[in-house]
């Protein structure tokens, strides 16, 4: 069991293994998303309240879910990196942050586009989820800015790991306080996404989208971790062997 983890965490082994997984993740993800998008756009029945605008949730919900997921991955691997000093997990944290920021951006934009026909405005401060997502984006920016400001990779890993953990403790509190804040805001009654009971014809495409987005995210993450590993190990012997053809050794 432990030898498996140690082998997985060894950079050259991970570098090869990830390269094998990426195409599979990509294909599975693309297939699920293709099914989910076609079924969601054309075959799922229109919502009785929101009409066809509800179809935006097929891209909004997966991105919102991934924006949280990416932060969780980032914080957990940061913790593992701090506690057990596994370099690979710091590379995972570094790779997850920009992806998480992209999906948070996507969740914000699609949420805002959905809000325009539903609330009649591009931005509704009264909606706690949109506001939380915005703060989430700021958390990602802070994390990436701290990483970018420290030149030494080892130091940047540790410092940003502390920040990721402090952020992880704060996220539930931020969500709670934003909920409380918007609950005081009377007046605007918001249409809830999906309505009370979601039909199976609507649900299956959504599940396929969430599943597919997760696999695409996995492929993107593995790709970025490979880049990080390559950069961090640039002085290692296995990288030298990797980039130089056999006959080139002087």
């Amino acid at each position: 069991m432990w030898t498996f983890f140690h082998k997985l965490a060894s950079p050259p082994h991970f570098y090869d293994l990830a390269a094998k997984f990426i195409p599979w993740f990509g294909v599975i993800g693309a297939a699920c998303v293709a099914y989910g998008a076609i079924a969601g756009l054309f075959y799922a029945p229109a919502d009785y309240q929101q009409g066809d605008a509800f179809r935006i949730i097929y891209v909004h919900v997966p991105s919102a879910y991934l924006s949280m997921m990416a932060y969780m991955i980032m914080a957990v691997s940061a913790a593992i990196g701090l506690i057990w000093r596994i370099k690979l997990s710091h590379a995972v944290a570094a790779a997850a942050a920009p992806l998480g920021a992209w999906f948070t951006f996507l969740a914000l934009m699609t949420g805002s586009i959905w809000g325009r026909p539903m609330w009649g405005t591009w931005w509704e401060w009264g909606d706690p989820r949109l506001t939380s997502e915005l703060l989430m984006l700021f958390l990602y920016f802070g994390y990436m800015a701290l990483r970018a400001a420290i030149d030494d990779t080892t130091k940047a890993d540790k410092a940003s790991a502390v920040l990721a953990l402090v952020g992880a403790v704060n996220i539930p509190i931020i969500h709670f306080s934003v909920e409380w804040w918007s609950s005081l805001h009377q007046g605007a009654t918001l249409v809830r996404e999906g309505g009370p009971a979601i039909e199976t014809g609507m649900l299956y495409p959504l599940l396929a989208m969430i599943f597919g987005f997760t696999f695409i995210f996995g492929a993107l993450l593995l790709g970025r971790v490979r880049t990080e590993v390559l950069f961090r190990e640039r002085r290692a012997n296995w990288v030298r062997k990797l980039v130089l053809p056999e006959g080139d050794h002087a």
Binding site: L82, L135, F138, L139, F141, G142, A145, L146, A149, I150, K155, K158, A159, V162, L163, L165, V166, G167, V169, N170, I173, I174, F176, S177, V178, W180, W181, L184
Partner: protein, 232 residues
């Protein structure tokens, strides 16, 4: 120091000596205390000038303005929390000293609050009066500001420890701390608004007190870890 156990100061005296040292240093450089206060007063002046002199609108926006100004003023002073210690090398001494580092971090944050947070709470009624705040609301505002500035000093000490020794530290520090400080701002400002509308304020005050306790217990450990990393 042949027998370090004999010479080691007790936990409380070490803690107090760090606090005393920082407060004395601030006493000798009054700018450190006064600048955030001036900043606080000036930012609060910006809003009436920008929004207009209508007293109804000012009474409505007062709690938010005071809280935003307090948050910015507290942030402004955070950058210097570990800066001078880092520059003259006394940070190394603090890290190497037999005192547990989280205790020292707590002392530094507390000293920071005494230097910047407490004066800000004491000055805030002056600003509040210009926003037509009634006396009852002002007392609620001072309570929320007390809990809020303590939390901010502690939360900010993590950010200050992470960015100590970096160029462009101030802007980075704000970027790191502002999103984390949102719950304080939300509960602080909204509770004062509720007080102004004669609504129940206990929920917000309890939350701020709970958040303050959370930062008191957890933040020193994060700050200590960050200081060790930054000072490697």
């Amino acid at each position: 120091m042949n027998q370090p156990t004999l010479n080691m100061p007790s936990l409380s005296s070490g803690f107090l000596s760090v606090v005393r040292r920082d407060v004395l240093l601030a006493w000798k450089r009054p700018g450190d205390v006064l600048n955030p206060l001036f900043f606080f007063a000036m930012v609060s002046t910006l809003f009436p000038l920008a929004v207009g002199p209508s007293s109804e609108e000012l009474a409505f926006s007062g709690p938010g303005v005071v809280w935003v100004a307090a948050l910015l003023a507290a942030l402004l002073s955070l950058n210097s929390l570990f800066m001078s210690d880092f520059e003259d090398g006394s940070l190394d001494q603090l890290i190497l000293s037999p005192q547990p580092l989280p205790m020292t971090a707590l002392a530094k944050a507390l000293a920071h609050w005494l230097i910047t947070g407490l004066p800000l709470v004491l000055v805030s009624p002056l600003v509040a009066i210009t926003f037509q705040m009634p006396a009852q609301t002002i007392s609620v505002m001072m309570v929320t500001l007390t809990f809020g500035t303590v939390s901010l000093s502690l939360l900010g000490s993590i950010g200050a420890a992470l960015t100590v020794g970096l160029h462009r530290g101030t802007a980075l520090l704000s970027l790191l701390i502002l999103p984390l400080a949102m719950p304080i701002l939300i509960f602080g400002a909204r509770t004062v608004s509720l007080a102004a509308a004669d609504d129940a304020v206990s929920a917000g005050v309890y939350f701020l007190a709970a958040y303050c306790m959370l930062t008191l217990t957890l933040a020193p450990f994060a700050t200590a870890a960050a200081l060790r990393i930054s000072n490697e």
